[in-house]
Amino acid sequence: MSCALDERDFRRCCRLLLRRSKQLRDGWSWEPVQGSEEGYLRKTAVRSVFLDPEGSGSDSEPRASGPSGPGQQEEEEEAADTDRRVIEDEDEDEDEGVCGVSAGSSQVLQYEYHILHSCSYAAPVLYFRAFTQGGSVRISAKKRQEAPKILPADEGRSLSLEAMWSSVHPNYRLRLQSSPLNTISLQEHPLLGQPFFMLHPCRTEEVMRPVLQAAHEQHRPVNYVLSWLSAVGPVVGLDVPLKYSTLLSPAASPGSSSDTD
């Protein structure tokens, strides 16, 4: 049986997910691409995250209070003095510390998650980015000289790659970092053209195979996108409440539509 998810099935899975999300007030929306059926799922969430650049992880369960849903603000600890960078780097050219925080601090971030369909891998792909909350983090002197840009009112500094890694739970971090193509990297968003972190999709089919196989054998319908999201989402702080699994309508199973090859 095929573990490929074509564009039509992807959209069908998204519609079902959206319906459930509305019932659960989980905040997902569908963003269409102008003038076509194409589009992606989108959700924003505020996360209070413990940035642990050392990655020791011994007592640092990320104190993530979980996505609190759009529009909800959280009480956060004041960010520590932000004039220093997270990682001092010998390479003078690096400027990873766009979001400058001192090591081991708690930070409130505005996350934005997108789920797109990759036609190359016939799988869903997760893109995300995060910003500090505007005003809650002091901007270092260097950045103040930046030419004024028109930014949406609630956005602050974007999360650097280093800071992103330090917000991923150490248990996931090791496995992701050791396998370069099964990992998180900074990529150009294929529809918006802006930098986003992306969870690489080339292993998705592998990951989904046992899930789809089991469901197929038990004659259970499976929502590919939902199952996939529940597996990869938590890695980047995106929780999928169990209530999603009690879908009332039959979900799309891949392989039912034609994959003629």
Binding site: V33, Q34, D89, D91, E92, D93, E94, D95, E96, V98, C119, S120, Y121, K142, Q145, E146, A147, K149, S158, S160, L161, P180, L181, S185, L186, Q187, E188, H189, P190, L191, L192, G193, Q194, P195, H200, C202, D261
Partner: protein
């Protein structure tokens, strides 16, 4: 065919004469002269500009230097696109040498990806190769290769070694005779007039009846505005590696011979220059 192999060489060794000038607002300790360089069309800006970096660093204090980035006439240049694509898309109608402005501060992280090391470029390049093979061969060929073969592709590009690169890349260009071509053609169409960074969708090299799809067929399906309406003069040029291939050219042939090292056909649709 001897001719076809020549095409591969011509594509690989394509160069764009460029002139790098330091942005006026950078703080310098001494005068920074422009730096001239022949840029390989098939490579990436951050891979071939170490000399540019060193040259301008000499004129600046270490504390005034952050990540280097490039801009052409106000547009930040996306290093993750091949150099030839950037030129064809943004500067093909301008006089040579291509005049690029170098920056060392105010990195536009809403527009550009950071590029802290060559391993980031390698990861990006290999990611392109893997994706292209997913389209061409359901990833079978690239996954059957050993790690050292993957490394050889990257080293070939990094060190400008045509033979080293193609010794492995030829495997990615094979297909069985009963298929008549790749499963799908890896391509991206770029147009500055669009909000979308590029168009990339599934497209087969042959029709269900077995006839070969052409460049024109691809455009008709993916970017119809690129084609001139009947009887009217053309408004757009369709450019690959700085040339306009005939629209009748079979897509499979283009994919085998005019792809970039990442195995993608990068196609630029640009307005016809108004003289």
């Amino acid at each position: 065919m001897a001719d076809d192999k020549d095409v591969l060489r011509d594509v690989w060794f394509g160069r764009i004469p460029s002139c790098f000038t330091l942005n006026q607002d950078e703080v310098t300790e001494r005068e920074a002269e422009p730096y001239y360089l022949l840029l390989p069309r098939v490579s990436y800006l951050t891979l071939v500009t170490d000399k540019v970096k060193k040259h301008f660093h000499k004129a600046m204090r270490a504390e005034d230097v952050e990540e280097m980035w490039f801009e052409y006439e106000g547009t930040p240049l996306k290093w993750h696109n091949p150099i030839g694509v950037l030129f064809d898309l943004h500067a093909s109608s301008s006089v040579l040498p291509w005049s690029i402005t170098v920056h060392f501060k105010n990195f536009p992280d809403r527009d550009l990806l950071h590029c802290p090391s060559s391993s980031v470029i390698e990861a990006h390049f290999m990611s392109g190769i893997k994706e292209a093979d997913a389209l061409k061969h359901k990833s079978h060929v690239v996954n059957d290769m050993q790690k050292k073969d993957h490394k050889q592709l990257w080293m070939g590009l990094q060190n400008d070694k045509f033979d080293q690169f193609w010794a492995i890349n030829r495997k990615l260009m094979e297909y069985s005779s009963e298929d008549g071509g790749f499963r799908y053609i890896p391509f991206r169409i770029y147009q500055t007039t669009s909000d979308r960074p590029f168009i990339q969708k599934l497209f087969r090299p042959t029709s269900p009846e077995g006839s070969a799809h052409t460049l024109g067929d691809l455009l008709k399906e993916m970017c119809p505005t690129a084609l001139p309406p009947d009887g009217e003069p053309k408004r757009y040029q369709v450019v690959i590696h700085g040339i306009e291939p005939l629209l009748e050219t079979p897509l499979q042939w283009l994919s085998e011979h005019l792809s970039h090292p990442d195995n993608f056909l990068h196609i630029c649709v640009i307005p016809v220059p108004s003289d």
